[in-house]
Symmetry: D2
Subunit: 314 residues, 4 copies
Amino acid sequence: MKLDHSAAGVFTIAVTPFDPRGNVDHASVDRMTDFYIACGVSGMPILGVRGEAPKLDGEEALALTRQVVARAGATPIIVGVTAPGFAAMRALARGAMDVGAAGVMIAPPSHLRSDDQIIAYYRQAVEAIGDDVPFVVQDYPLTFQVVMTPKVIREIVRALPFCVMLKHEDWPGLEKISALRSFQADGSMRPISILCGNGGLFLDFEMERGADGAMTGYAFPDMLVDVVRLSRSGEREKAHDLFDAHLPLVRYEQQAGVGLAVRKYVLQKRGAIAFDSQRAPAGALSPAARAEIDYLLRRLARVDARATPSARVA
Amino acid sequence: MKLDHSAAGVFTIAVTPFDPRGNVDHASVDRMTDFYIACGVSGMPILGVRGEAPKLDGEEALALTRQVVARAGATPIIVGVTAPGFAAMRALARGAMDVGAAGVMIAPPSHLRSDDQIIAYYRQAVEAIGDDVPFVVQDYPLTFQVVMTPKVIREIVRALPFCVMLKHEDWPGLEKISALRSFQADGSMRPISILCGNGGLFLDFEMERGADGAMTGYAFPDMLVDVVRLSRSGEREKAHDLFDAHLPLVRYEQQAGVGLAVRKYVLQKRGAIAFDSQRAPAGALSPAARAEIDYLLRRLARVDARATPSARVA
Amino acid sequence: MKLDHSAAGVFTIAVTPFDPRGNVDHASVDRMTDFYIACGVSGMPILGVRGEAPKLDGEEALALTRQVVARAGATPIIVGVTAPGFAAMRALARGAMDVGAAGVMIAPPSHLRSDDQIIAYYRQAVEAIGDDVPFVVQDYPLTFQVVMTPKVIREIVRALPFCVMLKHEDWPGLEKISALRSFQADGSMRPISILCGNGGLFLDFEMERGADGAMTGYAFPDMLVDVVRLSRSGEREKAHDLFDAHLPLVRYEQQAGVGLAVRKYVLQKRGAIAFDSQRAPAGALSPAARAEIDYLLRRLARVDARATPSARVA
Amino acid sequence: MKLDHSAAGVFTIAVTPFDPRGNVDHASVDRMTDFYIACGVSGMPILGVRGEAPKLDGEEALALTRQVVARAGATPIIVGVTAPGFAAMRALARGAMDVGAAGVMIAPPSHLRSDDQIIAYYRQAVEAIGDDVPFVVQDYPLTFQVVMTPKVIREIVRALPFCVMLKHEDWPGLEKISALRSFQADGSMRPISILCGNGGLFLDFEMERGADGAMTGYAFPDMLVDVVRLSRSGEREKAHDLFDAHLPLVRYEQQAGVGLAVRKYVLQKRGAIAFDSQRAPAGALSPAARAEIDYLLRRLARVDARATPSARVA
């Protein structure tokens, strides 16, 4: 089933499990997929920035896609196909769709500057991957150095029918969500799905501005699912209470350089993966950092039972 | 009194108050200074990144310095003298010290890349401002694009005796604090004061890693003062409880593009300044954004009386 | 007399003469002004990127402007007013116009990305300096990291009546000149003056694409004057022959890090300034580099008499 | 035969020939290889920045390597293996060495800033590709935004025995060559081969500073071969005369955005490849640009017979 603009809920950015020797840990791939689905996620993007995608070669990337798609069943899988050139992008995109992915995600290369360059890039990308592949535009200026105004995003949506989703991680970005939704309201842009990344740091208000959900890999996707549900059902105070309880850890995990190590450490503690290993090159958490995370988890456990050592999702 | 390495506590990055026509609001300058001091701050940097420094001409900058120094009495004032060239830096630095500033703060220009370039820049800056002016190195890679390793900072500290303080806002930066403190412990670097910026987003753990305090302009400096005090006295749980209560607003205020508007809005609500105006060019808070801040303040008021409309610092 | 869109010929980017102790060498300022005028230049921009502008404080900048304007007589002077904030830009622009400058030049700050950001910046700059000051847009992506498409330039020209000139130094930029001239031809943009920088490296073809002349500081402005004249009068082969003879030195002078040292060294040799000193911080030419320049000058002297030690402009 | 530090002469950066439909033009691959060898080149790097490497998928890259290696016989082939991750780098490097490449070339990713980050990156790259693969460090700050000081390069050479060559394209870079050769002279660095890129724009003086030759793809490699030979045999005037005659075209070809189109156009004219096509996305030369190149070739033909339509290398 292909991705379309009605997608909503939590699309959790999956990590790529490795064993301590740096091989893909296939047992953990299944375990992790089950874990995420038990958390209530609506979809799973793999091979994203924090999925260690560039450390996998083409065959490994495709094998991982195949395994996750097979295990996830009806849950749609989105594959990150950002690449330094269109040949590699095309190869991975076609391969991923062939094995059952629901769509792909494309980030802009950091040398793009002018509005026209950005729009031209997405046109060329679609020429490369084919005009029958649903894709997500990843808008993450802090990391990619590319600034897409709401008008540019509208232009991309207009020009490219298979652009169905925005991964929104502009910062600050609340007004951008409002601007895009106003384009839909005034009829100048067809509806798209807006899922928010940025580590989830602003999810509370992003939902209230009109986002359809979250696309981030915070180690408690079940919390994100609850916040999205509470927010959509109008239980504002409850949504913020739950979100705020997690915010100290959300923030800690969002640190650019060590965030993935934090995330894998917590996912391992929660039983989602067997090891918190990253494939080289990878930074390790210092003992001090581990102790800080443990401390945050203990504090969290007082208000959210999911953070207690004995509690598991399933 | 000149700044030295023993500085600790909260050095609050002062805003520059303007009236709605864009003139410096001198009445509010005094009011704000009183407010910050009543909050318990240990010092006040002015004309920083969020002090709208580039919007003031040289005379205005010096007049502001003179007024704040006079009003602040014994509280040390640090003046941001980052400039596109050493002539302007020298003029402002000498002028500021002449009217009683305690020291100056210097950020690196964004074209610096190699270790040697960074060290050479600070040497040249000291040649320009004179080797009798205490200065703060501002280490803020996210904004300035300049990466200073702990070794580079040590080299600057070794080479330049009047480098007495680091404004630490690397991100992630907890390990950097630990590394610098270990240099002091092994005798390879003389002690410096480390105050943390970054909007305060990691102050809870930065204190535990060895920071001397905060240098940021969050609109509740009194909270920062309490967190620093609690942390130094070992009341860890209390420090985190207080910090976590403010974290949703700390995070909201830290948004790069609108953070200053948020800060001024709250400072005005708290009575610290008469207007939340910025000098042009300035973005305005949307009604939705104001409502979000109001909501965060209401939630905060439940746990911290300082956020209630009736409560004032003095 | 104010600058307007009819400006043509060579506008030579003036160096700022210093004596070996780093003071502005006022005697050389007059000498240099006379030299440039004797070379046949049509105008002189001062305080540009290679005019060491950031090393001068506000008073020095204004004093230099006053002196050059007085000495230059009818030759129009353009003042670079690029600054980190609008207060400093306004102060210098108003001051420069008050003492008789013909216009100002404004480069975009390097954080600008989207088309709208660039256009908004120039609108704000005009609000700051006043809507009665003729200004030059400096389009130099290689140095400023800001990409202005022809459409963006057209939008700026449309919105701001006192935008009268483009300093064109995009690279590659020949098609951009053609595009802008086609906008004029189809009536969608009013005429502007296009003068080309980039060290003059492409002046031969830039003239043939429709440029009005050069705006660069190559140490033989008299050669540039001749090339512009030959090109405009249709003497193509002669224009290229002369240009090609100088190209080895043009190229050598264009090296980003040492180009200004090369330029001042040659200007001193030609008698235009008394010293080749730069104000600190400044790199020095190595003996090897000096020997290379001397060699290039000897080779040049065989085909262009101006490069012989005895030949002088006047 | 593996690449070592004694490599010298001209290593011409090979283009990748495509037919007008975008397929690799295998007949032209052989023809081009023959052409380069007839020009007298000492080696051929393929899949470099101007080899359109990112437009080839992994299989195509390896097939191209296999074909060129087979055709080139004793002439060493270097393969560009720069990649966004070490998995892809390893796959291509191992594959290339297996089919007979002499070594690989690695450029640093543009996010590297501090000295330690750069050195660590090359260590990790060697861990990935294996410590038995000779490699070239590509030092090209203008494009990659990474600044390697001579000390950093020395550190890499010291730490990694299979680092045998520097592709030098810093700009300005003459002093860097002198600095590296002085390290060899004082015994602090073992000898490496230094070949210069940067479109050949400074080859005349680079040779005189101690470079071993050129590594660039200018469409007249035979001219580069002659300049290197003349320079090494001390015929300075002749070397410069020949170089200067080509400089107008060298400069024209060096334009970042259209340089490859210029190069392929000239190579096609010279009979080295059948088509000047690039694989999409590719800019096309405007009719004006083609006319400019034709004009430069006509001028060149007056002094260098190789540029006449009838003259061919073989």
